[in-house]
Amino acid sequence: MRALALTLALTAAPVAASELSSSITDKLILPAFEELAADSRTLARAAQADCDPQSGALRAAYGEAFDAWIAASHYRFGPTETDSRAFALAFWPDSRSKTPKALAGLIRSEDAGIKDPAKFASYSIASRGFYALEFLLYDPQLSTAGTPEYRCALTRAVSTDIAATSKAISADWQQSYAAELRAPGSRYQTEDEITQELFKTLTTGLQVLDGMRLGRPLGTYQKPRPNRAEARRSGRSLRHVLVSLNALEPLAVALAEGHADLQEKITAGFAKARTKAEALDDPVFAGVSDPAGRFRIESLQQEIKDLHTLMREDLGPALGVAAGFNALDGD
């Protein structure tokens, strides 16, 4: 009863922006990047222990670390943008197939630079990160190209690099950026700007789900593009949608703190999207090419569009932030 009274008291007035951003920083953002750093460290160790692409332990560690990135990847500001770290971890969509080309080039030339982590960190982002590692572990051609020794060294180099990049992001968050986001200062001048950043993070995350993770493989009815499904070689396309929904929901709920009705709507909206995703039984969206399968993927996409509309029309005004005057203009 006392807990209920407290909840009611809290919902009575919108939460101060600095409280909101402090809570989101501490409860969502810092743990997400800590998890990514820890899982990436485990991945690098797994690759050292066994670099065979068929290794169950390596593949499991890869899956854990990739999940952790997807769950953190919507926080695309500050530490992820330094030195293009987000792209170095995750260069996707790769509309020009640069990743397989870059990896094939390294394997063909047996470029020895990959053995020096500092040097490898300066290589094209196309040859680094989770999508590059997916090719090395799961692509029939690249996972068997060249010599086993070189592929092994490359698998270790990419894994070590992922761990170093993830560690750097997490360290920056803890050492400096968390403070920037908790209260206005040099980076954000007002609390509104901080709220705006967090709100944009949420809406951009939903846009990536809608336009990229689902929209790219859907293509058009006349021209579906199943080969554009994200991480299809490792069978993770649908999984990424679920991981992302599960990561965006607590952010949306936290931003709606103090607005109990809206929180309920948000929870219901995410539940609908999740139910549709879980019922799909189509891990790489192969169904985009047949009418029945396509209908179900489009129906999931619609749930995500509805969530985006809810954020724009209800959450944005509740927070006193609007989607951009110019961003929406289209001129």
Binding site: M212, G330, D331
Partner: protein, 359 residues
């Protein structure tokens, strides 16, 4: 040529000294359209640090503006598909004329004066004929419509004076629209944007089209460097997530040069170049993306992306002494240089797409 232009401008200035100059309007550094806290639209004259020197209410949302080369007079253009352009006396903020395009036309939101200030050119949609048009107005008195000529393509948007030869350069975005269907894009299957170089009388002198695989990259915005090099910014109409350039350089008779083509960070622009400007020394070109909340600065020699600056809803961009000045939909004004971004001013209104420099 420059001599002639300088002579004419000087002549205009001397005949008008008894009247008015930009100094009498407080020498604004920029013009920008905006929306105030009550939701009303306006055109403002701004100091180089973003202070508002004058404001004029507009009947609808504005877009860009043009400044008369001599008189303290600005023209605020309606955002497409609206049909007004207000001529404003910048000393008082009062309108002295309201232009309306002929029936069947609407403005696209950009325009420019002839070098001598005698004519105003406006980009227009002749929508019943799906034809891009440049409207010509008599700016010597009363703003009578003189004539119109083809823009060289569909969907002319930004337009600027050439600086290597007399004439205009027009960004024909390639997208057909009709007011009956709002802002819907009617011709994506066969759109083909171009840059058209026209004489001031409307003869097509040169034209640049991008490679076929970039035909969905709508060329929208322009900046012209002192040596005549044209910088252009594009907006992608194809699938999201394609790694494509958003800015390029062009000189008539040569192939276009695309900026930062192989840099993944172009994805941060979300396929949407909002404004483009050269730095004051011409060594850099900047492109803003309000959708990405980012300004990217490229080296005009190497084409490399040098640096990104994050600013929420940034769009307006112009050269300034140390590099660039940028404006945002949050009413912010930033100085951007190699040293970083520095907030200069915040107004309680939203700055619209473009920051028009007064030179």
């Amino acid at each position: 040529m420059t001599t002639r232009r300088g002579f004419l401008a000087g002549l205009m200035a001397s005949t008008l000294t008894s009247q008015a100059s930009w100094a009498s309007a407080g020498s604004p550094a920029f013009l920008s359209a905006g929306k105030d806290a009550s939701g009303a639209f306006l055109l403002a004259g701004l100091s180089d640090t973003g202070g508002i020197l004058f404001r004029h209410p507009l009947p609808g949302r504005g877009h860009a503006a043009a400044a008369h080369p001599v008189r303290p007079e600005a023209v605020a253009f309606a955002r497409r598909p609206d049909r007004f352009a207000d001529v404003i006396d910048c000393r008082s903020g009062a309108a002295t004329a309201r232009l309306e395009p002929p029936a069947g036309h609407h403005f696209y939101g950009h325009g420019t004066f002839s070098p001598d200030g005698s004519r105003l050119f406006t980009t227009e949609n002749d929508y019943e004929n799906a034809r891009g048009v440049i409207g010509v107005w008599d700016a010597t008195g009363g703003y009578r419509r003189i004539t119109a000529f083809s823009s060289g393509g569909i969907g002319p948007h930004d337009m600027a004076l050439r600086r290597d030869a007399p004439g205009l350069v027009v960004a024909n975005g390639g997208i057909e629209t009709h007011p009956d269907s709002g802002r819907a894009k009617l011709n994506l299957p066969d759109m083909r944007p171009n840059l058209s170089y026209l004489s001031l009388e409307g003869e097509l002198q040169a034209q640049m089209e991008l490679a076929q695989e970039l035909r969905l990259n709508s060329i929208r915005h322009l900046a012209v460097r002192a040596d005549g090099t044209v910088g252009f910014a594009m907006q992608w109409q194809g699938d999201p997530g394609e790694q494509l350039p958003a800015a390029g350089l062009h000189r008539p008779g040569t192939a276009p040069r695309l900026m930062a083509e192989d840099d993944a960070r172009v994805l941060n622009l979300k396929g949407y170049g909002g404004s483009v400007a050269f730095s004051a020394d011409g060594s850099r070109i900047g492109v803003t993306s309000p959708r990405g909340g980012v300004l990217q600065v490229m080296d005009t020699v190497s084409g490399a992306l040098l640096r990104e600056f994050r600013m929420h809803d940034v769009c307006g961009l112009a050269a300034s002494a140390g590099g660039f000045t940028a404006s945002t939909g949050n009413g912010q004004f930033f100085a951007v240089s190699d040293a970083g971004q520095h907030p200069l001013h915040r107004a309680d209104l939203a700055w619209d797409n473009h920051l028009i420099p007064l030179i």
